[in-house]
Symmetry: C2
């Protein structure tokens, strides 16, 4: 296999990139600024050495604990539970929340073999038991799996009468992904969150 | 800027990849097989050292002359003129042509500041003068720029009465790019090429 075929084949393994887009990207890379290629290549090759999950919240970080967990000015009475590390960045970009986060690492999905034991619920319960939270905001995706996960969290916390448990307001398109919502919709869902 | 932001920003510079796709790709890269990342990173960083234009036809190659120019079994009486190196691979994949290629490096486009002097016409004329071609197949894109370029080539070759000058048959969607045509359409346009 030639270097070009190899590049095309590896690019085509990226999500959302088919064989034609992969060869278009490859030809672009052949003709583009070579310093940029070297930089992008190095970025890709080394990203996993530089980015890892925060030992407290589980979101991606380059220092441990992550800048959000480590920020003394954030509201330590609010905990926002999300499925994926990228959801933290998406919610942060809405600018409507300044509490803490907890990343589950996914949603309960028996069809994909993901049960509660595969997600960081015990760590979440430990944080809630040891912390000073007044409100738990469930920000799982508005999908079947996200809804199941939200119900499961409400069940886990049913004896914590002192906690107010809320969920992001509707306004998010049903069946979609948090990641693809626009900032205003996200900010509105945070502001209008409802008791769950 | 963090390593992750850096990666997202560099991915977003690729054609057809916006900021949201870039961050989706970045998160995929954080979680995927790390050997794959290293390989893809190396592919991207080194592609320009491995792939260069063939000194005869101008298509991308990893040996000079390219395997097509160097193949004694190919029909040396037919020369197919294309705009871009990737068009050679697209036409090759149709399996309907086994002559030689000549890559112009683009199409005449005064609005983009690309005149005949920026394209490899003199090299093309030299090849035609020194070779044993009987037919010149113009396979520029069916766009305004491609049509202009085709007319210009016909004008350049107007005194070569011994050459038959053809153009890919219609069947290609007008305004489109060669690269995105399917193989059958391409094979049909090659078979049904018309005198120009």
């Amino acid at each position: 296999m030639t270097a070009l075929e190899n590049l095309v084949q590896n690019l085509a393994r990226l999500p959302g990139i088919g064989p034609k887009s992969a060869s278009r990207l490859a030809y672009h890379l052949i003709k583009t600024d070579s310093a940029y290629n070297k930089q992008l290549g190095l970025n890709i090759a080394t990203i996993q050495e530089q980015v890892f999950p925060c030992s407290i919240c589980g979101s991606f970080t380059e220092v441990d604990p992550c800048p959000i967990c480590d920020d003394p000015s954030r509201d330590k009475t609010q905990l926002c539970i999300v499925e994926q590390p990228q959801d933290v960045i998406t919610l942060q970009s809405s600018g409507a929340f300044d509490g803490l986060y907890h990343v589950l690492g996914g949603a309960i999905s028996p069809l994909d073999g993901i049960g509660p034991e595969n997600l960081s619920f015990s760590k979440m319960l430990k944080r809630i038991a040891e912390g000073h939270f007044k409100e738990i905001i469930i920000a799982t995706n508005p999908t079947e799996e996200g809804d199941t996960t939200a119900l499961y969290i409400r069940h886990l916390l049913k004896d914590k009468k002192e906690l107010s448990i809320t969920r992001l307001a509707s306004g998010l398109p049903i069946g979609g992904d948090l990641e693809y919502a626009d900032r205003i919709t996200l900010a509105r869902s945070l502001k209008g969150r409802i008791l769950f």
